[in-house]
């Protein structure tokens, strides 16, 4: 990067750390530190909810997903408006009435301490694991952009976020989230405009849509019902409804945002902001990824966005790689020419010629990636490197620093919220609840700051251990899916099943998780027409694939928890009461 970009990046990062740190000065109690004295305006809490969700993964993972596949991922968010209605109507007034610090605190009154500890413990486990991935994602990008080792980048991001979250508390988190959201949105809008300014003069927005549509990249809605398909309208509306209800209604990273507001109405308004804005925002980001694909039809694109140097180790490998590169370049030139002809003539034959050239180019690209994988024996998926490559090679000096700061900001806006939520759950649901000797507010305040640092260290270490795995965006959702549905099931029992007992909720929760595990390990072979169950440590034959995709695990967990919870409660009702 140019020194101007370094300066902009440095100044913005220092400003974020300073701004976050100073917000915690007034906090003299854990309510002030962890809930900002319940005094935050609704719009600030609402923007913080959005910033927490819009992480660096949104920046790089979602654009990469649209580039390599299509826009179907947007369907995951279709359930948000419906989920928000249910949360605003039922959960928000409940939390407000109980004046709780955490989502899990309210469970103790009905279902006992064990259920509270189990649900909060699952939160600590799942979010603690996911936090490593949230730090690792932007670190990949920044290590590429800045030429830093991956491990050093992870340590820098983890340290900065931990420092201002430790000093600033939730007020610091929310105030910095607002600024971080603004920087991130500026970066996205700027890149969108830049793409169009770099297209050939005779290629307009309609032409870009025509080319993307020809390539089947504008599929935003898939009506096919298939449990083994990751993204379709059914999984997006019904299965993801359970995920969104659990995420926004029972996950402390989100619940804590609206617990900082002063009234039920403010808490509802903050959530409805996400209901209005989240889906259009995701659509825009995915469209940006598709437009990047169109951009690289007319501009030079590398065969791999990740490796710029040949990886061949033998002469034969070098020859194969050279041949692939020649095929790729020839197909790329043909694709550009046929694209221009397809735009001008809009005939089926020209469209087919363009599609054939695109397929030839992608065949060469896929073959090269496979060759790289076989030589280096590592993951060579470059999905998360496409947008960073664009930033590095196309964005002008000065703005690069701002966008890199935006990626930093997006990462930190998610990390800070999670550090703060993990601290709140650990202090309120575990430490303060189980502490036998009385302690002062000052003691808990000091402990909260110490625990924030501890979580920051754990998160950074888990990010270092995580290394590079498959597309991070899916990994995080998968981690959540193992617990989310079952925890939601406990809240369903709490709100709507009067007969539910502590024993029912506790066993129901375990049963829900067991059901999720069972369905997750269920595989199907189309060739053999056979369903088989494979344990995590057993090898899955190539002909088998997952029978049920991860979004559907959420309703499985909720339904199993509710059914088993109700049954156990009714069977032992007399004894328990």
């Amino acid at each position: 990067m140019h020194w101007i970009d370094w300066s902009i990046l440095g100044v913005l990062l220092m400003y974020i750390v300073w701004d976050g740190t100073r917000r915690g000065k007034k906090a003299d109690s854990i309510e002030g530190y962890l809930l900002a004295g319940r005094s935050m305006p609704w719009w600030a809490a609402g923007l913080s909810v959005m910033a927490t969700q819009a992480s660096a993964i949104t920046f790089i993972g979602t654009t990469g997903l649209a580039y390599t596949e299509d826009m179907r991922f947007v369907q995951v968010y279709l359930a948000i408006p419906f989920a928000m209605i249910l949360i605003c109507a039922f959960l928000v007034p409940y939390f407000s009435k109980k004046k709780s610090f955490t989502a899990y605190e309210v469970l103790e009154e009905r279902f006992g301490l064990s259920t509270r500890l189990l649900t909060s413990g699952l939160f600590l486990l799942s979010r603690g694991l996911a936090l490593g991935a949230v730090i690792a994602a932007p670190s990949y990008v920044l290590s590429l952009l800045l030429g830093f080792p991956l491990s050093a980048t992870i340590v820098i991001i983890g340290t900065l976020a931990t420092v201002y979250t430790m000093f600033g508390g939730v007020a610091g988190v929310i105030q910095t989230d607002i600024k971080q959201m603004a920087i991130m949105m500026f970066g996205l809008i700027f890149c969108f405009g830049l793409i169009f300014s770099k297209l050939p003069v005779d290629v307009g927005f309609g032409d870009a849509l025509y080319l993307a549509g020809s390539l089947d990249k504008l599929t935003a809605l898939d009506l096919t019902f298939d449990l083994s398909e990751k993204y379709n309208v059914w999984s997006g509306v019904f299965a993801a409804l359970f995920l969104m209800l659990s995420y926004f209604g029972t996950d402390q990273t989100q619940v804590q945002r609206y617990l900082t507001t002063k009234s039920v109405a403010d808490a509802r308004n903050s959530l409805l902001l996400t209901a209005y804005a989240k889906v259009p925002m995701q659509f825009f980001i995915l469209l940006l990824g598709v437009m990047l694909y169109v951009f690289y039809i007319f501009n030079e694109a590398p065969i791999s966005f990740r490796a710029s140097e040949p990886v061949a180790k033998t002469e034969q490998q070098a020859l194969i790689e050279q041949q692939l590169l020649t095929d790729y370049e020839a197909a790329r030139t043909t694709r550009r020419e046929t694209a221009l002809q397809a735009i001008n003539q809009r005939t089926k034959s020209q469209q087919d010629a363009f599609l054939a050239a695109d397929e030839a180019m992608n065949t060469a690209r896929t073959s090269d990636l496979k060759l790289q994988a076989s030589i280096s024996q590592t993951d060579v998926n470059d999905t998360n490197y496409i947008f960073p490559y664009f930033i590095l090679t196309v964005v002008p000096i000065g703005v690069v620093g701002l966008i890199v700061a935006g990626i930093f900001a997006a990462a930190m806006s998610s990390i800070d919220s999670e550090l703060n939520a993990l601290t709140t759950v650990f202090i309120v649901d575990w430490y303060r609840r189980l502490k036998r000797t009385p302690a002062t507010e000052a003691h808990f305040l000091k402990s909260s700051r110490g625990v924030t640092v501890a979580w920051g260290v754990i998160a950074t270490l888990s990010a270092l251990a995580l290394g590079e795995t498959k597309s991070i965006i899916e990994l995080i959702n998968q981690i959540g899916s193992y617990f989310y549905g079952s925890i939601l099931g406990v809240f369903v029992l709490l709100l709507w099943v009067k007969q539910a007992t502590a024993r029912g909720a506790f066993i129901g929760l375990f049963s829900g998780m067991l059901a999720v595990f069972t369905f997750d390990r269920l595989y199907y072979s189309e060739i053999l027409s056979d369903y088989s169950f494979f344990l995590p440590w057993s090898a899955v034959p190539e002909s088998y694939s997952k029978a049920i995709e991860f979004l559907w695990l959420n309703p499985v967990g909720t339904i199993a928890t509710v059914i088993i919870g109700c049954t156990i409660s009714l069977l032992f009702s007399q004894k328990d009461h």
Binding site: P81, F82, G213, L218, L221, R268, N269, Q351
Partner: protein, 51 residues
Amino acid sequence: MLSNTFTTLSYLFALPENSSKNWNAIYLGVFLLGLLFIAVFWWFTSTYNLP
């Protein structure tokens, strides 16, 4: 200033602060918005996705 802007917007969207709101009407609006998103994406896909 930011606070005032958002408060003004909340009035424009019939979400006045510190007054009794018809939450059921708001929920109906959000529900219809959710359906609108689905309809728009269906239209977008069927209009622009060509194969």
